[in-house]
């Protein structure tokens, strides 16, 4: 449902372009140069890359709400009271300090064993003498981009304040290409559109998906971050944020006359955009800047701008490869609910033992045992089971508060016996907590639910926030909800539980600080392949956009593309290929990877399935071989625990030939490459299962040329020969 479409607020910048570059900071390699200045008290910044302006002079600051009596300065008169709401004008420069850092740090999991954090920084200290207030802007310039944030030191005249809007601008220098999805307070589950900036307004209405469980767009030129852009002279810009903590999620609103984006925060149900208490800081606003698209994928700006792990002992945080009783519900073959007899559930009052089972309930003892057996046989760590707990007959769309209790299983799900069975086979069950958006209810039950998990050896939970939020009127991406997601992460950490949160806000690198936050959905996942399908180029743009900030539980691994074969009536066709599905385990980095399809489908293609069994989840090193947004992504990664390499390549809008050099291999060593490629007669309409597995001995001097269908791809495992 589209709750409101507001016209874009056009910021009038009446003052002239500021004096260029009064305060400057450059990247360590000198390619990026960021300038800051005050023009008539208004803060501006601009950015050059290799001598070309890439961000034109752009305003900075915030506007405040007037409700907060202590800070309105109304005693000084009407104009002063109005001015006091502006943390975007009336500034003087107090002083500027510069610093630099170069360090490496070790992530708990990730695309490499060590991450370099190297930047030059500049803190501009601004003061508003009229109000005896100060605000600092900290800039960090890395070799691959820039970042800034607002910092508010503790001070008597700026103690508590409420944000009306953040006014951070990103002024583009032309009518660039953008790879965008509609800005939305409630969902990121969209297909991506490539268009000129000037075309967004015209295309916008047709790109909104009113069928999403909750949808709230706010402007016909509003888009989400991370926003991938490309200039006509081949420069890639990627705008996002890092460390979004105790703050609403930022969107970008385009003034398509000036081609300027302005930050647009997610409001709360009162229309306010952030409740702040000094000392505090906003999240970082980041722009990756490069002329090589592979640098976007290699950038670690988001993680580098987050704090180190607050979890001291991280030994219990482990990557997870899992299967699940899930795809058969998504496709419609099975049901989450236990019975069709009940249209209204009140937990504790509805006696399921007296209802008639519908015979299609997925989370039943027999089926779960079958999944456990399959997981044990093929070396999976965990089995996700959705629909195990009471309430699914009546869980959605009624603004229902007490929708689940997260502890009471259905009669045909023997919690203890199944858990014992799994553990006896060396497999863990993965917990599922669908909240139905009822956040108060979830917080009330968290302690008990996590304790049940801890007591039974469940070490990970897939949480969900489908539908409109309770507290009613709140949005998925507001400060309140962002605080909730982090609260759940912290509570989970207390119980040594890893979290994979679906429908939560897009990640902003916070998993560095809380590495038990091993996954997020926060984008259109594989589930949509069973509900109309994803665009062929979807997985060739996600690494540039959604994956900036943190891993996605994309749930790849579909091997049966004609859903009607096992779910009569579901005529969704999936425009991919088996090799293309395998590639995603490499190109879509996540420490949590699902093999989403049914065991029986994998059993029909055990040779191809071998790649999913082999592919690691922790990497020593990643090499970004080929990259172009929406077109292709080819990545090679070295296993953290062996000398094996894995390559994945996806093709987006068009069929293509991919030629890669294996120069990343250890010189002089021989390897056996197992190549999972599409067969010559494969296609993405009815030939998705036609693949060919070949072996080839390769060295660091080898080059490989492979074809990939649009929407498909290839995968290679490269193992040293003894």
């Amino acid at each position: 449902m589209i709750r409101e479409i507001l016209l874009a607020a056009t910021l009038s910048i009446s003052c002239a372009v500021p004096v260029y570059g009064a305060e400057v900071v450059t990247s360590p390699d000198g390619d990026i140069r960021l300038s800051f200045d005050l023009e008539k008290g208004n803060p501006f910044y601009s950015v050059d890359f290799k001598g070309k302006q890439v961000i034109a002079p752009s305003r900075m600051g915030l506007e405040l709400y007037s409700e907060n009596g202590r800070n309105t300065f109304s005693s000084q008169g009407e104009k002063a009271a109005a001015d006091a709401l502006k943390l975007c004008s009336g500034f003087e420069l107090a002083n500027t300090t510069r610093d630099s850092l170069s360090e490496t740090w070790t992530p708990v999991w990730g695309e490499e064993a060590e991450i370099l954090n190297k930047y030059n920084s500049m803190i501009v200290r601004l003061k508003q003498p009229q109000f005896d207030r100060v605000m600092n802007i900290e800039f960090r310039v890395f070799d691959d981009g820039i970042a800034f944030r607002y910092e508010f030191p503790a001070q008597p005249h700026l103690n508590y304040f409420v944000i009306k809007e953040e006014m951070s601008q990103f002024a583009m220098t032309g009518d660039h290409w953008a790879y965008w999805i509609p800005g939305d307070y409630d969902t990121q589950e969209y297909n991506y559109t490539k268009s000129r900036l000037s075309e967004i307004r015209g295309l916008f209405p047709s790109k909104v998906n009113p069928d999403n469980a909750s949808t709230t767009v706010f402007s016909p030129t509003g888009v989400q971050t991370s926003l991938q852009l490309k200039t006509d002279d081949g420069i890639y810009l990627n705008i996002h944020e890092a460390a979004c903590i105790n703050y609403p999620t930022m969107h970008l609103n385009l003034n398509d006359t000036t081609m300027t984006f302005t930050s647009w925060l997610t409001p709360d149900n009162q229309g306010r955009k952030g409740y702040m208490q000094t000392p505090c800081a906003t999240p970082w606003r980041t722009v990756i800047i490069t002329d090589d698209a592979r640098d976007i994928l290699a950038s670690r700006i988001a993680y580098n701008l987050n704090e180190p792990s607050k979890i001291e002992d991280t030994s219990w945080i482990k990557p997870v490869k899992y299967i699940g009783v899930w795809w058969e519900m998504i496709t419609g073959k099975s049901s989450w609910n236990y019975t069709d007899d009940v249209f209204s559930v009140k937990l504790g009052e509805t006696d399921y033992s007296k209802t008639k089972p519908n015979g299609r309930h997925g989370a039943n003892n027999e089926k779960v045992r079958r999944y456990i057996d399959f997981a044990a046989e093929h070396g999976f760590d965990q089995v996700l089971v959705e629909g195990w707990n009471e309430g699914w007959e009546d869980w959605f769309g009624q603004s229902k508060d007490y929708v689940f209790d997260f502890v009471t299983p259905y009669p045909d799900f023997d919690f203890k016996a199944l858990n014992d069975y799994a553990h006896s086979k060396g497999v863990k069950l993965m917990m599922h907590h669908e909240t139905s958006g009822s956040v108060r209810n979830y917080e009330r039950h968290l302690d008990k639910a996590y304790k049940l998990m801890a007591d039974n050896g469940y070490n990970s939970v897939k949480s969900g926030y489908v539908g409109n939020i309770i507290p009613r009127g709140e949005y998925h991406y507001s400060q309140w909800l962002n605080n909730h997601y982090l609260y759940a992460i912290q509570k989970a950490a207390d119980n040594r539980i890893m979290v994979n949160a679906h429908e939560a806000s897009r990640p902003t690198g916070v998993a560095r600080t809380y590495p038990n936050w091993i996954g997020n959905e926060s984008a259109r996942g594989t589930e949509y392949q069973a509900m109309g399908g994803n665009d062929k180029w979807h997985t060739s743009i996600l690494p540039f956009t959604r994956l900036q900030g943190g891993p996605m539980d994309y749930t790849p691994g579909i091997f049966e593309f004609d859903l009607s074969k096992f779910t009569p009536g579901n005529n969704s066709k999936i425009a991919s290929t088996i090799p293309g599905q395998l590639a995603l385990y490499v190109t879509m980095y996540s420490p949590l990877q699902m093999a989403a399809d049914l065991p029986e489908h994998y059993e029909q293609h055990l040779d191809a399935f071998q790649f999913i069994k082999d592919v690691p989840l922790e990497w020593e090193r990643s090499v970004y071989l080929e990259a172009e947004p929406m077109e292709y992504v080819t990545i090679a990664r070295k296993d953290k625990n062996s000398d094996e390499w894995y390559v994945g390549s996806t093709a987006g809008t068009a069929d293509r030939k991919s030629t890669i050099s294996l120069s990343f291999l250890e010189p002089g060593r021989k390897y056996d490459a197992t190549i999972y490629a599409e067969a010559p007669d494969a296609n993405t309409v009815d030939g998705q299962q036609r693949y060919k597995i070949t072996h080839k001995t390769v060295t660091s001097k080898s080059k490989l040329t492979l074809n990939a269908l649009a929407g498909g791809g290839y995968a290679i495992s490269i193992k040293p020969l003894k």
Copy 2:
């Protein structure tokens, strides 16, 4: 702050007065006769008392919000969709059943050992054939009044619904006298006004108290329940509600043309008034009807309409007589906060050990020990200590979420040592949880906070909800908050903790079901005596209004009336007397009674203090000797655990002579009456402490005549002579 004044919604009743009395039910004694009928599909009821109409034909039903797609019947066309939102018209009578009950039950605590629940009932089953929906109205008619509620059986076409407004009317038969306070979504802390119904609109603006910590009035003729009324022919009506559970608190809005009250529910922050799932029922709407004002005080309609205790073992629920480190903060002598150095607190980040104590912090070790000693010496059960925990420097008015953690003491409050000291003296400390209205924060900390209490032998908590609510935009009396208060009560019961909730919704008899809910404030208490004062007649109207529904923690017992004597600068003068304060321990029934003044003030009047020490908290029987709203209340009560009787009498608007018969005493037995009366030269301006204690031997044939000053009163303890 007055957030909004809405004009009263004038309900247009276009149809004629309905056929009189199609469905009738009378009280067991036959004095009250309630009639129900449908007029053109609209439900109406009316009530006679001793042959006179006291409630003219009044509409019934609810209006719904349209958001709920499943129930709008939009497929049947626009008119049907609009009609489908009406649960107040379009009805046919399906059938009517009648029943009756007479039972006695035993309260865990109360004004008598046994309560009679005796009524005739009628259930009118209504159907809306167009929508295949049903709604029942259940009526109960007691000898002292009537009650009705709406019941919604489980049904496919009325499963979830959202209430726009409840349309229950109470049509008055004349321009009665009303004893009212402004209807307000956030506070009941008002002085009472007696006026004609027609005078409410004119008086209303001057009666709103904008200085309350949170205030939201909604209509210039909106008033709160319980609403006491009196007709010119001497009939008393008292409109209230019972069992307000999972529903917003009801106010009454007067149409002062027709003299008709209509229910006005407290909205949530979305403007909606209740989220319902069938099967469910509304709270009971009650009207006490009598021509003897004493019956109002004796009525147990509110408790009788609530469910029996859901707590099986109630042995741990005990009445509490307590003192507290409290009045000295209220008057301004001491402070809740520990330091004056800090203007902004972030719990866990603010290191109090490094701040300078302000020297006025009330909750310090030495003072608390002094209070414990005093409590032990004089037989008090508990000592309340406010301001014991970190955060008070910065707790109010900033819409602050994480304001208290309820577990971390200030440096000068040795939690363990003081608790041990108290227990060693046979005294318990009473916990204080001020939430500052931040309900999410409180719910997040409840488990840990209650566990700390349980682990340390704290068995009662005074909770507070001062200021605007978080979730922001919610009101103190909305469904969300009412659910929260009950959630806290239930969690407390799990930990064997009794709750005394301040600033929560006015009680509606729910303490019968959860008898650990031993107190509420929910009205203007003694604290206002230190902030401008209460009206002289305040405690002569509260028993008729606020005390309907449940006990109040009024915190009486002020012995030093000139606050400037110990708190320089506080020039509040208290228009009462020491005997008047003593009377309140009898007239204002509560199982939880405080002696609010400072130990040193009691030590100056130990002879009068003896009454507070003697007066029981559990009663075998109560006899309502004299009563007239705002004028006087005289009650005699027999101790549950002895043959002692206690009498209290308050005078309201005028000085008066009270003559009472002691015929309630056991015939033939002799008693010693200790009479605590105002001295002849006492007054309520500067002679509040002039009292006289006399002894008299009395029997059941004795009559006593005593004077009471307006705002004052007298107290008597009557003990059998050996």
